[in-house]
Amino acid sequence: MKHVVSIEGISKSFGRVQALNDVSFEVPSNSIFGLLGPNGAGKTTLFSVVADFLKADAGTIEVLGIDTRTISRLQGRLSILPQDAQFQRNVPILDQLVFFRLLAGRTKKQAREEVVHSLELVGLESFAKRRVGSLSHGMVKRLGIAQAFLGHPEVILLDEPTAGLDPASARQIRDLIKQLQDRATIVVSSHNLGEIQELCDHVAILDHGKLVLAGSVDEITRADREYSLCLSRPLQDSELEQLNSIEGVRSVKPLSHAGASQSEGSAEYLVTLDLSADHIDQDTVIAPILRSVLDMGIAPRKLAEGRSLETQFLEVTGGQTDQA
């Protein structure tokens, strides 16, 4: 698999605070890559180092085979939605984006056409002549996305692209990101783990500046012989014991972390199978579990193979939640 972003041993500290500590991973070509981590894990710092806003203390980053210390060679090929960057408040948004395209060598007419198209993508075409100061937070976020999509960048870094957007706008942006996957590699950081699981095919999880997990979403969530089971009510101890005694079941444990199903009366369990015996396979164990649950008068609400990304995230980050 070809990699368009290669991060090798990146470390960065601010005074005594080690923001990134020997982080290494690769982003496959034409993937939507999710960067996850609790607040302060180093996601934004990593984005900033990739874009050469911040200088790394150690390590190297290559984007499209080019060392980012010579970032100018990536002009037009790499773009970013910075998390906390502000546009000029008193300049019409059209003028600001046209200026970016003029820098890319477009004529005024071409630049204007490209900008209008980009604004249409994020639903801001009717605000083109407005100043940034008059836009809402969500609109400014969409404007940031529009500037990141300007031109035809091959790698797009989106730092929390849907944060602060209403559900409809967030859905629109997610659809847009999916459409772009054919022609660009997109790296997304998000607080919304469900969104990342829906959107991304690869993820990396950072915690306290260290990489704790990286790989494809399938690999990470398909923890071998594990199922998440959501029931209509919590199991009593005797019922839990009964499920644990089924042949082929190694353990049934309640998921009590913040991301576990918390709807009224329901409960979520992690079922781990022991398929070491030759005559046992997954189906021969799952069926008796479900039968037992039904016999207890409990309705199974969900049975999913593997763990949710959220479960995995919470496990590797020690149960810290990134969600507000």
Partner: protein, 332 residues
């Protein structure tokens, strides 16, 4: 430090955008306003006594005699210009004035303005003579005061070249689209363009008013000297904008950048002046900035004038290189 990354097209685009943005963002308007108020106030303070003199003359004789008015201006302006150029101390000037007064009291009939000048111990210095006799003296005096004051004013425009956008992280939208060198030098050039335009407006307004209202100098002489004064002021602004640029890349807060720019520009001068009272060599502190050279931008000798121009550009180059070195390496 790699200046090969500079591209003319990007630098031009950024400088033009920045000079327009200077107006839109408000800092340019603040500078324009303060510079105009300062420039026109200086002109008003210096022109008003002349207007009164003309009015008195008209009342007394029914008409204005331009040579006589020019003579009076030269007489009043001479000690001031000598002091500004550093040729005489205030004490010497006061002593000369007292001596002249004594001479006038002893021999009132022989106290014409031309005679009085001869009591000035050192006689006419070529430079002072050039400024008050060969060129419109009133405009010379205005330019000298502007040369002294404008460095303080220009920091209102130049303090925010980088710091504001760095604090708001707005620079990050540009950093993947052009080189840091283009941003740094483009904004510097944009600031110089805006400052030069404001200088042109101030000098043109003062010269036009002086020409139309007082009519004591011939128009070609006024226009020619106005161009020289405009050039002097425009060149002088370059190193001061460059020092503001260096400060602006070194701190993230625009307010702190403004305060540091003011303290640096004023501090160097005042430390040199006040320090020299206690320890003579302290006066050389003023050469940390172009304070010691800048009056030569109105010098009659081409070599002196050229020396001042080269000094101003050399200061600008040093400050710019230091600022660029910092900008290229820092986290943004």
């Amino acid at each position: 430090m790699n200046l090969k990354t500079l591209t003319i097209r990007h630098t031009r685009l950024i400088s033009l955008c920045w000079s327009r943005y200077a107006v839109r963002s408000g800092s340019g308007l603040v500078y324009l306003l303060i510079a105009l108020i300062f420039g026109l106030t200086v002109a008003h303070v210096l022109i008003t006594p002349v207007e009164q003199l003309i009015a008195e003359q008209k009342r007394a004789t029914g008409k204005m005699d331009p040579p006589l008015v020019r003579e009076a201006i030269s007489e009043i302006g001479q000690p001031v210009i000598q002091w500004v150029l550093g040729q005489k101390t205030l004490k010497e000037i006061m002593e000369n004035a007292a001596e002249r007064q004594r001479a006038m009291m002893n021999d009132p009939n022989n106290a014409s303005l031309a005679e009085n000048r001869r009591y000035d111990g050192s006689g006419f210095d070529t430079w002072v003579n050039f400024l008050i006799e060969k060129r419109p003296a009133l405009l010379s005096a205005i330019f000298l005061v502007l040369l002294f004051g404008m460095p303080f004013v220009v920091s209102f425009l130049a303090y925010n070249q980088i710091s504001g956008d760095n604090q708001s992280r707005g620079l990050r939208y540009l950093l993947l689209r052009t080189e840091r060198s283009n941003i740094y030098f483009g904004r510097f050039i944009g600031t110089v363009i805006f400052s030069t335009a404001v200088m042109a407006v101030i000098v043109a307004t003062i010269t036009f008013y002086l020409g139309m209202k007082t009519r004591i100098y011939p128009a070609p002489a006024l226009a020619g000297w106005a161009v020289c004064g405009f050039l002097a002021l425009s060149i002088l602004m370059v190193p001061y904008i460059a020092v503001c640029s260096l400060i602006s890349v070194s701190v993230d807060s625009p307010f702190l950048s403004l305060v540091l720019a003011k303290l640096t520009i004023a501090g160097v001068l005042f430390m040199a002046i006040l320090g020299s009272y206690a320890w003579k060599p302290a006066k050389y502190l003023m050469y940390a900035l172009p304070w010691g050279w800048q009056c030569n931008l109105l010098h009659p000798e081409p070599a002196h004038w050229l020396g001042a121009v080269v000094a101003c550009l050399a200061y600008a180059a040093v400050f710019l290189m230091l600022g660029y070195y910092r900008f290229e390496r820092r986290d943004l």
